[in-house]
């Protein structure tokens, strides 16, 4: 879906396809697929999260759940397939070729498009990562079907259509989007939006191998190098257990240090709302919310953040949300578990000191 949708009155030209009239040739499309993301031999956790959700959709439709893995080393692919079974897949399609050693749009798009055209899934899910979005956009255009980005909720409606909910209008509202008359129905979901499903060790399934026999000399794009990030550069927000974040209520970049100090004492990660990135107080990889990182920590402390929908959808998976805001009417108090109507600039240092003192007491006691 694109551009600020207009749900209001039908246009003069008519909305030809708002009713479900699935063309005959799409009726054979069945089963739910997850395109698995593998980089450097390892499966990205978002793929398992998608399998967990895909399992529910497949059960509701009474169809199979399949995973697609691509790569060059059979051993890695077999390990990935085993994990996919353990997280819920009934079938794993393994596409193996030396040309698939590293992700490239060109090769991955051809392989995935071929598999979809051959086996005809009705739903195709991908992670909303850089890789997943790069691939999904190309595949959906090639297949001429609908793609809904960054969904926060997936469901099957009474007619068996995928209902994909996502924020819209810059994250100020949510909308539910359908691809009624095209197949497959495609959607991407960001890491951590969905919970990690339980792993069922020993669970197995069928493997279908596809050898695309790619002629490398005909592949135009070459991967010359991969420069791995230094660990210290990386914000580990999505999978952090404790996250402290700040918003415009902190009033200045200097005051943002108070957020870092609290995160430091708690051994957690720090981040901020979208306006802070625009102001240059934090880097984009520390942005929390719809267009930044989605988090699911045990504890999330939001300091001076009003709680717009675009932020809300990125943090709702937290076990406990603590909100500090001077405005008792701020929307963040609608979804926080604990609220403190106070100035974060005053309260944060007190919280940092109180946590530090508590840990010191514990250390003495042990």
């Amino acid at each position: 879906m694109a551009d600020a949708p207009k749900p209001a009155a039908p246009s003069a030209s008519g909305r030809a396809s708002t009713k479900k009239e699935l063309p005959e040739h799409f009726r054979a499309y069945k089963h739910v697929w997850v395109a698995v993301e593998i980089e450097h031999g390892a499966v990205h956790p978002v793929s398992f999260e998608l399998l967990g959700e895909g399992r529910k959709l497949a059960d509701k439709r009474g169809v199979e759940l399949a995973a697609v893995v691509m790569g060059d080393a059979r051993a890695d692919l077999d390990v990935a397939a085993t994990h996919c079974f353990e997280y819920g897949a009934d079938v794993v399609y393994i596409a193996q070729d030396p040309a698939l050693a590293h992700y490239r749009n060109e090769t991955a798009c051809d392989v995935l498009t071929h598999l979809v055209n051959t086996y005809k899934p009705e739903i195709l899910l991908l992670g909303a990562t850089n890789l997943g979005r790069d691939l999904a956009g190309a595949v959906a255009t090639t297949l001429q079907t609908g793609l809904t980005a960054d969904c926060t909720e997936l469901a099957i409606d009474e007619e068996g259509s995928l209902a994909a909910t996502r924020p819209t209008f810059g994250g100020s509202l949510l909308c539910t989007i359908f691809t009624l008359n095209y197949r497959p129905q495609m959607a991407t979901v960001r890491p951590r939006v969905l919970p990690m499903p339980p792993r069922q060790e020993g669970r197995g399934g069928r493997i279908i191998t596809y050898s695309p026999a790619i002629d490398e000399t005909r592949v135009i794009t070459k991967v010359l190098d991969f420069i791995a990030d230094r660990d210290s550069d990386k914000a580990q927000l999505p999978y952090a257990d404790i996250v402290v974040a700040g918003g415009l209520g902190l009033r200045s970049a200097e005051n943002f240090q108070l957020v870092k100090a609290l995160a430091d004492v708690l051994g957690g990660e720090y981040g901020g709302s979208r306006p802070l990135v625009q102001k240059g107080w934090i880097t984009a990889d520390r942005q929390i919310g719809q267009t930044g990182k989605t988090i699911r920590p045990r504890l999330y402390i939001a300091a001076g953040i009003s709680g717009a929908i675009q932020h809300r959808v990125g943090v709702e998976g937290a076990d406990v949300i603590v909100a500090i805001n001077t405005d008792p009417q701020a929307p963040i108090f609608d979804f926080a578990h604990l609220g403190i109507v106070a100035d974060a600039v005053t309260l944060l240092p007190a919280l940092t000191e109180a946590f530090a003192a508590r840990l010191r007491v514990n250390r003495l006691a042990s």
Binding site: A8, G137, A138, A163, C175, L299, A342, F355, R363
Partner: protein, 288 residues
Amino acid sequence: MTDPLHIVVCIKQVPDSAQIRVHPVTNTIMRQGVPTIINPYDLFALEEALRLRDRLGGVVTVLCMGPMTAEDSLRKALTFGADRAVLLSDRYFAGSDTLATSYALAMALAQIGREFGPPQIIFTGKQTIDGDTAQVGPGIARRLGFNQLTYISRIREVDPAGGRICVERRAEGGVQVLETRLPVLITMLEATNEMRRGAIETALAAARAQVTVWNAASVGIEDLTKCGLRGSPTIVKKVFAPGARAEKAAQIALGDTPEATAHAAIEAIFARLPGLEAQLFETAAASC
């Protein structure tokens, strides 16, 4: 001799999202008085295009699909230094999803190629701030058969004569160094450059410059069912605001001092998360 480098930058005019308000009763967007801006992510694409042109010579064309008022954004792009501006505007494009949008833009890009020379590089921002899909760039690349380079953090080298380009692409856990053949579509990562201030002379020239305006027919679109709502596989069925949680946040009463409030907050947090205190202690012990 090869033709001079032709770069097209696709931009979108968007509402300044910081100022969007939702009507509390009707749940509709209150558009009145909301200023529009060039999608901020597109500025990184535009600046990168201008830098390439300044270094290698050539021409930068900016293309925008939108209502007639989107001419403002094109004129703004001209003040930054773009050489030519094209507005693609037609009521048949209203309600386009990303598939229909990439169709219209690809048709316009082909028309640009016919009228002004084929582009070797098309730039877009990594996504827009209103749609946030990041799908239109890949859609255009696929339709035109351009090599797709998304999330580019740095352009290492462009060799227009040899028809090659080498870039750095932001990937999971690191940066991919990719080499490919022109023509390419690049979606530029944010914070990779800083938009220049347009020179006074450029701004004056921009004010007088002609913006080319095309509709569906002028770019050769004959099948209008590929446009707008009818050309969009996705259908928005419902727009809504999420409700508050059943239970509102439990408010922690303010103490006489920030310290007292902090202590009350910590007790409340530990009460909700049994085991957290032990976990914190272990983490702290492990790190000293």
